[in-house]
């Protein structure tokens, strides 16, 4: 592989240097020079107005993928219920399958999940592969990967999508590695290149400052994990009501129960609600809260709104609230309908974990806080006045003015 600058046409304008994410271009003697940081991403090629940069030697052999067809979605379950992200992906999968003119299937793996998994038909599913067995009552990586690999290898979908949940983000790379295919993590956009009939996978990178569109090269299926709550759930009922006929049971052999992962116990009964990725409303507190006792105020507000409490890194590091509440690159990525940031300045790592929320409301006493740059609504003010008054207002139902 090689990247070359045509010294005759290069004007040394520096556009490529600015576009480079990797600090791989120097302007030497008025010409662009590529250094060893280059990863061949092609950003410079795209911005060059003089077509002076060329990447060559990428071995793109044409392979025949006619044996692969259809879009398949993994329906991850939590207990007996399929997680929402599964239905979001079925909705998105319907659109992608429509553009490709292919079938939409889903694979549900769990214990006692049939009823919940059948709901996927309401979102336009053509066929459900169901692996329903007590052996799947806990998320054991190798047992799950075996059933996914087996199903994908048998039915050969051209596209396979799964939720970018924490389990998904450890399980699916394992599956992709066994299948020896590419995987794009934590996508927020999926489209079909209608000319080439391939999947364009767009994902945030560099803490959400940059979006990268990625393709799977000469392997199939094209696999992606997709950020929960980004794709919209859309009901799309098929003509036939006879869903039962459209279920294919995936048999599990006893030999497939073998595991290297010895699960000793699951601790679900925690004293606090840490499942912050699963709520429509997240009320988060940051440094501005000043202490752990103040989080009870946010808990009350979250309770009134049917939400849950999140936190910035500063609040967690100060020991005011436990780590599973942390939103951001170091913690969890959340995507609620409403994110209320209280006393959070908006460090880039925090923004990376919440900026795709539908509506962001920020309360901060500093009018220059960067959280206001991503907020839909901003209130400059003392959160110790604003939040209690808001709680009172919601509870009483009586106008303040």
């Amino acid at each position: 592989m090689e990247i070359k600058v045509d010294k005759k046409t290069c004007t040394g304008c520096g556009l490529c240097k600015k576009a480079c994410l990797y600090d791989a271009i120097d302007i030497i003697d008025g010409k662009a020079a590529i250094n060893e940081n280059c990863v061949f991403c092609g950003a410079c090629v795209d911005v060059c107005r003089f077509n002076s940069i060329e990447i060559s030697g990428i071995d793109e052999e044409e392979k025949d993928f006619s044996g692969y067809s259809g879009v398949c979605v993994y329906l991850e379950a939590n207990g007996k219920t399929v997680s929402d992200v599964g239905f979001e992906l079925v909705s998105k999968g319907r659109e992608l399958a429509g553009k490709l003119g292919v079938k939409l299937t889903a694979l549900a793996v769990g214990s006692g999940i049939k009823e919940s998994a059948m709901e996927a038909f309401d979102y336009g599913l053509d066929k459900l592969y169901l692996a329903d067995s007590p052996v799947f009552s806990n998320n054991i990586d190798d047992i799950f990967s075996r059933i996914l690999v087996k199903t994908i290898a048998k039915y050969k979908p051209e596209i396979f999508l799964a939720g970018a949940t924490w389990f998904g983000r450890t399980l699916i790379p394992k599956v992709a590695a066994i299948l020896r295919t590419g995987l794009t993590a934590d996508c927020t956009g999926l489209e079909i290149d209608e000319e080439k009939k391939i999947l364009l996978q767009t994902r945030p990178t560099f803490g959400g400052n940059i979006l990268a569109t990625i393709i799977t090269r000469n392997v199939r299926p094209q696999m992606a994990t997709v950020r929960p709550h980004v794709m919209e759930k859309k009901k799309n009922k098929g003509s036939s009501k006879n869903y039962e006929d459209r279920i294919e049971h995936i048999k599990v052999e006893r030999s497939e129960f073998k595991t290297e992962y010895n699960l000793i116990g699951v601790d679900r009964e925690l004293n606090e609600n840490i499942n912050i990725t699963d709520y429509d409303v997240v009320v988060s507190g940051g440094r501005g809260l000043g202490g752990s006792e103040k989080f009870s105020m946010l808990e009350e507000l979250a309770g009134l709104l049917g939400g849950v409490v999140g936190a910035s890194r500063a609040a967690v590091d100060s020991g005011w609230i436990s780590y599973p509440h942390q939103v951001g690159q170091t913690g969890k990525t959340v995507n609620p309908k409403i994110y209320i940031a209280c006393g959070i300045s908006g460090a880039i790592q925090h923004l990376a974990g919440m900026q795709t929320s539908d509506i962001i409301i920020a309360v901060n006493k500093d009018p220059d806080a960067s959280i206001f740059e991503v907020a839909n609504y901003g209130v400059v003010g003392d959160l110790f006045e604003v939040v209690p008054m808001l709680i009172k207002r919601i509870k009483s139902g009586k106008p303040l003015i």
């Binding site: 592989m1 556009l15 600015k18 576009a19 480079c20 600090d23 280059c38 061949f40 991403c41 092609g42 950003a43 795209d46 924490w166 983000r169 450890t170 790379p173 394992k174 992709a176 590695a177 020896r180 295919t181 590419g182 995987l183 993590a185 996978q201 994902r203 990178t205 560099f206 803490g207 400052n209 979006l211 569109t213 990625i214 393709i215 799977t216 992962y261 010895n262 699960l263 000793i264 699951v266 601790d267 925690l270 429509d280 049917g306 939400g307 780590y323 170091t330 509506i359 409301i361 740059e373 991503v374 907020a375 839909n376 609504y377 209130v379 604003v386 008054m389 808001l390 303040l400 003015i401």
Partner: protein
């Protein structure tokens, strides 16, 4: 006595807080960006060093490894200053453009060359790529189990590790056989700062640089050639909206917030 070898995979990344977009040209402002060790990797190093201290110091050897351009050596020295016994740099022009799979392939080759590895520790994800995929892909490549989001290690001996991982709504306790790979989260420890002794050790450390020849990798399995995915476009996200600042006396602000929440059907 055979040592338990722990390998920590780290990566050099741009100090992300400094990455800003130039609003006029819509390109990245790179001026003054320093490269740093991926902050989430510091928990991986710390945990390896703590395991060494918790069990018998002499029985555990910690090696830091990274794949990257030559200047990535800086973070390996940092790893040594934080308590790693040795470090290895995988660097070759042929490694450029690697996706997570090609990175995992390269690391697997490097780790194989180091030999006798019992435990691989990684950070949850890097703050530039944000994928978290290298760990599980590396483990699969080496045919060993992987557990992600580990928040605590309870026990470690030559053959087994007992640990706890965090999922969105629960903790799960596992015991797995070694060799194995894990990724750790911030909850697991508070990383130390380098000691003076550590800094001296880091300064004097000899860090071997292995290219594709040394790790016996084929051109086709590393870098962009060995990647199953490829970036076709990089762009800056469109700013979705204007921020509406709610003005007025505090009562007016709260009244407006209540109205917004009502419109959003949550009150």
């Amino acid at each position: 006595m055979i040592k338990v070898k722990i390998i920590v995979c780290i990566k050099q990344v741009p100090g992300s807080t400094e990455i800003k977009i130039d609003p006029e040209t819509n390109t990245l402002k790179r001026e003054g960006i320093e490269n740093i060790m991926n902050p989430l990797d510091s928990y991986a190093i710390e945990e390896a060093v703590r395991l060494k201290e918790r069990f018998n110091d002499k029985d555990i050897e910690v090696t830091a490894i990274t794949m990257g351009p030559p200047q990535s050596e800086e973070i390996l020295r940092e790893a040594v200053s934080l308590g790693a016994d040795s470090a290895v740099l995988l660097s070759d022009r042929a490694f450029a453009g690697a996706d997570t799979w090609a990175t995992a392939s390269t690391l697997a080759r490097g780790i194989k060359k180091i030999g006798d590895c019992r435990l691989i520790i990684l950070g949850k994800q890097t703050i530039d790529g944000d994928t978290g995929q290298v760990g599980p892909e590396l483990a699969q490549k080496m045919k060993i189990p992987f557990l992600g989001y580990v928040s605590g290690i309870e026990k470690l001996d030559k053959n087994k590790i007992k640990l706890k991982r965090l999922m969105e709504d629960r903790y799960e306790n596992f015991e797995i056989s070694l060799p194995a790979a894990i990724s750790v989260i911030k909850d697991i420890n508070v990383p130390r700062v380098p000691s003076l002794k550590g800094k001296v050790k880091a300064k004097n450390a000899v860090i071997p640089v292995w290219g594709k020849k040394e790790i016996e990798a084929d051109e086709k399995e590393v870098g962009l050639s060995g990647s199953y995915t490829k970036v076709v476009k990089i762009f800056t996200p469109r700013i979705r909206h204007e921020t509406k600042m709610i003005e007025g006396a505090i009562e007016e602000k709260v009244e407006e917030l209540n109205k917004i929440l009502k419109q959003l059907n949550v009150v």
